[in-house]
């Protein structure tokens, strides 16, 4: 846990801290890291069925930070 906190702190040290009320731009749909559900499921079929590479996607973070 301590290492995680340290990693988070080091990352934060190099960046501008964005307050919870300054997330207007980050909440825009174009700023999302994942595609919209409809597009994402369709795109999953097109490339991986023709290529050897796959995987790598993580979820979470960015966005409006609400709740």
């Amino acid at each position: 846990m301590r290492t995680l906190v340290l990693v988070a702190a080091l990352l934060a040290a190099g960046c501008t801290h964005v307050a919870p009320y300054e997330r207007g731009y980050l909440a825009r749909p174009a700023m999302a890291l994942e595609e919209s559900q409809g597009m994402a499921h369709a795109m999953e079929k097109i490339y991986p069925s023709k290529e050897a590479a796959s995987g790598g996607a993580a979820v979470g973070g960015g966005g409006c930070g609400c709740n």
Binding site: A8, Y25, P29, A30, M39, I46, G55, G56, A58, G60
Partner: protein
Amino acid sequence: MAATEKPDGALGALMRAALALPILALAPRAGAAVVGEVGASVLGYKERGLMKATEPILFGHAVIDDVWEVEASAVGDILTGASPQLVTNVNGQPMQVLTGASVYERRHAGDAKVGRRFGELTLSASAAVSNEHDYHSKAGGLEARRDFNDKNTTLTLGYGRANDHVGSSIDPNLDAPRTTDQYLAGVTQVLSPVALVQSSLAYANGRGWYNDPYKFTLTFYPDQPLPSLLPDLRPDHRRSWAWLTRYRRHFAAQRGTLQADYRYFQDDWGVRAHTLEVAWDQQLDERWSLRPALRYYTQSAADFYSPVIPRPAPRFQSSDQRLAAFGGLSPSLRATLRLDSVIVEGAVGYVHDASSLRLGGSGTSAFETLRAVYGILSVTYPF
């Protein structure tokens, strides 16, 4: 060879779950705060001379009471068209031969994910099933997501396991299992009020049946009267790494957003691949936005890939050109219309895979150029 599939018990339950999501819209009157969306989309995909696929998709997700997250989707694939099955050098150079048999395949798949937030920590569990008459897959996953520093930093850890069963319509005795464990670690970092980056590493360890039951290689040798015929023979394990980095940067004055994704892939079959996709999302007015994008892909061949059977015949051999060295360029354009009660998205794309597009130029000469177009239409109702 055609087979119609009835959704099995687990899949039926998932489809019912996906369709039940609109019922959550009634919950606000019952006191719980529900925010989310449901929608449907359809994908059409056509390869020059070969496959044609249509795919209807239903999906939805909701956040209940700021604490529960629910997500589900159901997919039905319909594939038609000839599928290459034989790579032969009967005419001198290796080439893919279509057997001429018309394929009609249906595939049903569904997935669901449920998560609960405990302060800054969110724990989720997911399940997915996919069924066609010669392939069945079940997968489950767990994910932990922790926000730090006013949600400027997010760490994600995930684990998943998939159990597949491979069958064959030309070999009814085939029912081969395959199990894959996947591990994921990712970091998302807000860089500024207009920029963020995410980087994640996924490791997959699979064991079981990897051979493609429909792929064969028929090789003629100048000094041998009879050709050699081999089925697809792959190792019984595969370990792979994928490192994905995504960057988003909004330009307020231009009302546009830059999106860039890069993935490096490497496995113990000898495949190394790079994927780079760059897109620009341009806000045109309050409702419309346009997103042109360009995706470039390059991969090296698997160690045991060969369009002709080497002599002496090796232990592993595959002429499946998905394991060849090639590159691909795919431009696409997406338009989005956002109204208060509905969001409509339409996208068109072109896929061009060729050996000449491989980074460095030295792709497999036997690789048959792929040209495909696709179109996606998606309608989403937020609530």
